[in-house]
């Protein structure tokens, strides 16, 4: 372990023969002034093709993905990534299309984007959409820019400076708002784990641009007062931004648009099954109500008769937020998924996502503390607080690894101490849920009987499991070694 590709190979090896230069070769300095020419080659690895294949095959085996077992990261919706998505995204007409080849030669891609936009609007109950954002946070930023544009256009920007955020919000929410210069005001959660309505009201005035709301929230709870919240915010002229990261809980049965929200982002890499790729790419389309449509990024994709085209003539648009049209390849995957599921499938997604979460909650809340012990949506939180003097949730997570399953999200949301945030998704079987629950229950027992084994976890185990023992994060922060 620890071996990088730089530790492999020998001077002079290469893994790819280049096509022959079939034009007369000129002296380099005839073409480029000598002072612009690189003096020393970049120190890249020198390896043959088999060494590349072996090295990255080996690295892959030191990873754990959805394909390896349950991966119940809360707020991440680590569902199965159908292989058909990969194949459709790699069709040459998609993978080898150039973004500037012209509308006429891109009708298939434009139609796909147009229709995907329509589907997402229908799923969200919204009026118009941009597919440009490359991830959820990028969508949030787009949303903040839309809010800013709205108040600029309606001449409210001078006094409207604040954005309200429940304290359970994901870190990207405040970070996105901050880029636009909005002042972030945190709204506490109440004992139900929901937005504290009184606290909200206390902050509502005409200095507010709006609220960013995650629903179901990051505790896995549906904001039951959402109609009241959106009304209150609208009453002071504010806009409601809906973080749709948790759409998996309600897809096919309830729509943000019917809750009074103005802007919503979707995470295609969560709800719509596109693979997470070790951290990305994703896609974070943003849908809006009619009145915000003029501000959406350019180009928009429009349809005229049977012809699709890019519309750049949008004087009030916030402009572009991606070099081209967003993560098109991710859009192809989501399109494929939505078409395969249809309405019945989409509804089955939320049904089973919520069922699975509640089943786990029912089994685990007997052993761990569920701070909000009630029917949850697609995910729920537990805490180890009070279960041990010496052990933390981190130790529980690391010990879970020894049982061949991936731990849940931990230490998020910030408002629950020693939290585990568990989202099984609809694509795990009951047997896998039981395997995960059994492991977690076993670990709870070990907390009492054998705390040392948790502290030393994970242990290195065959086939699946850790490839190293517990790693020293502190050292990595103190003396960062960030390149070889």
């Amino acid at each position: 372990m620890g071996t990088t590709i730089f530790d492999i190979g020998e001077e002079g090896r290469s893994a790819l023969r280049l096509p022959a230069l079939d034009v007369p070769e000129k002296n380099l300095t005839e073409l480029i002034p000598a002072e612009f020419i690189r003096k020393e080659d970049a120190k890249l690895p020198q390896v043959s093709q088999i060494e590349v294949v072996r090295h990255y095959t080996k690295l892959s085996r030191m990873n754990y993905g959805v394909d390896n077992g349950i991966y119940p990261l809360g707020s991440c919706t680590m569902k199965y990534n159908p292989r058909i998505n990969e194949d459709t995204a790699r069709l040459p007409g998609f993978a080898s299309a150039h973004p500037l080849q012209g509308e006429e030669l891109s009708q298939g891609a434009l139609r796909l984007m147009y229709e995907l936009g329509e589907y997402l609007c229908a799923i969200g109950g919204m009026d118009a959409i941009t597919l440009q954002p490359a991830a959820g946070a990028h969508g949030e930023l787009t949303g903040m820019l839309l809010i800013k544009k709205h108040f600029e256009r309606t001449k409210g920007l001078h006094k409207r400076t604040k954005i309200l955020l429940p304290d359970s919000a994901h870190g990207t929410n405040p970070a996105s708002a901050a880029i636009c210069g909005f002042e972030v005001v945190h709204i506490p959660s109440d004992s139900r784990g929901l937005v504290d309505l009184e606290a909200l009201q206390a902050h509502l005035d005409d200095s507010v641009t709006g609220i960013m709301l995650t629903n179901p929230n990051t505790l896995g709870l549906f904001e039951t007062d959402i109609l009241e919240i959106t009304r209150l915010v609208h009453d002071v002229g504010g806009l409601v931004y809906y973080d749709g990261a948790n759409l998996n809980a309600i897809v096919g049965r309830a729509r943000p648009g019917d809750m009074g929200v103005d802007i919503v982002h979707y995470n295609l890499h969560k709800t719509f099954s596109t693979p997470h790729g070790g951290g990305g790419p994703g896609a974070g389309p943003v849908a809006v109500v009619k009145k915000l449509e003029p501000y959406l990024p350019v180009p928009r994709i429009v349809k005229d008769g049977k012809k699709y085209s890019f519309d750049y003539e949008r004087p009030h648009s916030i402009g572009k937020i991606h070099s081209f049209y967003g993560n098109f390849g991710v859009l192809v995957r989501a399109y494929t998924y939505i078409r395969m599921l249809g309405d019945a499938g989409l509804k089955a997604v939320s049904t089973n996502a919520v069922l699975n979460a509640n089943y786990l909650r029912a089994r685990l809340s007997k052993v761990y503390k569920a701070p909000y012990d009630r029917i949850c949506m697609h995910e729920f939180v537990l805490t180890t607080k009070g279960m041990s003097e010496e052990l933390r949730t981190l130790d529980v997570a690391k010990r879970l690894i020894d049982y061949g399953v991936h731990p849940s999200s931990i230490y998020f949301p910030l408002i629950v101490p020693e939290v585990m945030m568990i989202e099984p998704t609809e694509t795990v079987s009951k047997e896998e849920l039981d395997q995960f629950a059994d492991a977690l229950i076993k670990v709870a027992q070990e907390m009492k009987e054998n705390p040392q084994i948790l502290k030393e976890a994970p242990h290195v185990v065959p086939v699946y499991g850790a490839s190293v023992r517990r790693l020293d994060d502190v050292r990595a922060a103190k003396e960062p070694i960030l390149r070889g």
């Binding site: 080659d41 993905g65 023992r469």
Partner: protein, 444 residues
């Protein structure tokens, strides 16, 4: 039942019993009835995998692609050859279906390649530290601008008008959002940045943004630029393939180097997913956006990797984070890592040379043609602007009929007067293809 959902009615029954409910509907009792009642479906019927494949194939066939056409399109996205090993390796489920390496011990594969990628990007750019990806070249440039603003605490930026106009559009959007002032720096007759203009605007400058090779393919002269702008940030967007032969921006004192990593083994994907590259000086590492892997040891003292310096990031620092980025373009960075490992130092240099030589071959054959001239006199890499007597749309149409994606008509960008075509040449273009291309131009 659906192929992606294991639960059978019997499974559901057992699970509901454990939960203490009768019906799955009860799981959704928290959702107000008014909301549920308003629900409208999409009216889409489920499709079998076969039917979906047919449908998507039909859509895909409705697009040109650079397998079927001979492409001279560039402008930020290039038709380089993608070695077969890459799609095979990145398709391994353990790479494809994992997420951000939150549990380092189960993610040594991802963390190791991140570390490799960072090292390679440092090597390419001549910088000290690199992150593990941004969304794309455009947003990477915007993030560089935000970082410069945060560090310099200034708001005025000079932006070379010769940068990719798509990036320029992104910068405008971000700058407006963050309340920054952007000043365009014109270009001279050789297609390069007007240095005199820069000199005049140095006061209270946050940074200068330049691209090399620039949008016109011309290699900017970066010499002395950093000295000219002093403590303001020199931010350079570079084509990573060009860095096989071009002196890296680091040697010219760049503070931040960004770029579009698509050419490094990624498909063109109709413009996304792409790969934002981002590198800077070690002294700025704690102000840098994006994820990084760092080397450390495990309990036994064995080398391993973890996510480093997370305290910069939004999930800890929240509104004070260096950026809002969370999900990035990891898989594309893995592609670039494997690509660079496959090429090696000599391969990358040679690849750059082949691109350069072929582009010049074509340029030399076009420039003597009546009705065509090279627009700029500055040195170029694998792309160049041709000014034409005829309308580019007409020329492109003729080319298309002969199976060529002939270049980019620059009219819509409004940066150049007259009729201009941007033509890119990669290692995939053969002499025969270029000769045929020139013949079509002659005919038009």
């Amino acid at each position: 039942m659906f192929e992606f959902i294991p639960n059978t009615p019997e499974d559901q029954r057992k699970m509901l019993a454990e939960i203490g409910l009768k019906d799955v509907q009860e799981l959704f009792d928290d959702i107000p009835k008014e909301i549920l009642n308003k629900f409208k479906p999409t009216s889409l019927e489920p499709l079998s995998e076969f039917e979906a494949k047919q449908l998507l194939s039909t859509l895909a066939q409705d697009n040109a692609n650079t397998d079927d056409y001979v492409s001279f399109l560039g402008g930020g996205i290039y038709d380089h050859y993608v070695p077969s090993s890459i799609p095979h390796l990145i398709s391994r489920g353990e790479f494809l279906t994992c997420y951000t390496p939150y549990q380092a011990e189960l993610s040594q594969g991802t963390l190791t390649w991140m570390f490799e990628f960072q090292t390679m990007i440092c090597e390419l750019t001549g910088m000290e530290v690199a992150n593990s990806s941004m969304y794309d070249g455009g947003s990477a440039l915007a993030e560089a601008m935000l970082m410069a603003k945060n560090i310099t605490e200034r708001k005025k930026f000079l932006v070379a008008r010769s940068i990719n106009p798509h990036y320029w559009d992104c910068l405008k959007t971000y700058a407006w959002g963050a309340g920054l002032e952007l000043i365009d720096v014109p270009f001279t007759e050789d297609g390069r940045l007007d240095r005199a203009f820069v000199q005049k605007e140095v006061a209270s400058l946050a940074g200068l943004i330049v691209q090399s090779p620039n949008f016109f393919g011309v290699i900017e002269d970066l010499t002395g630029l950093k000295d000219a702008i002093k403590e303001a940030f020199l931010m350079v967007s570079a084509n990573p393939i060009s860095l096989g032969i071009l002196a890296p921006p680091g040697v010219f004192g760049a503070d931040i180097v960004v770029g579009e990593g698509q050419p490094l083994g990624n498909f063109q994907n109709f413009g996304g997913p792409l790969l934002g590259l981002f590198a800077t000086r070690m002294s700025y590492v704690r102000r840098m956006p994006g994820r990084m892997a760092g080397r450390t040891v495990d309990m036994d003292g064995k080398t391993g990797y973890v996510m480093a310096l997370q305290t910069r990031e939004q999930h800890i620092r929240r509104e004070k984070a260096t950026s809002n980025i969370c999900t990035n373009q990891a898989l594309m960075a893995l592609v670039a890592t494997i690509y660079l490992a496959m090429l090696g130092p000599h391969g990358l240099r040679r690849l750059a040379e082949i691109n350069l030589q072929k582009a010049h071959y074509l340029a030399e054959r076009i420039s003597p043609l009546p009705g065509f001239t090279l627009r700029f006199s500055g040195p170029f890499f694998n792309e160049f602007v041709v000014q034409s007597r005829k309308k580019p749309a007409r020329i492109l149409k003729a080319l298309r009929e002969d199976g060529f994606l002939g270049g980019i008509d620059l009219a819509p960008y409004g940066v150049l007067d007259g009729n201009n075509l941007l033509i890119a040449v990669t290692e995939k273009r053969t002499r025969d293809e270029m000769d045929r291309f020139v013949k079509v131009l002659k005919r038009t």
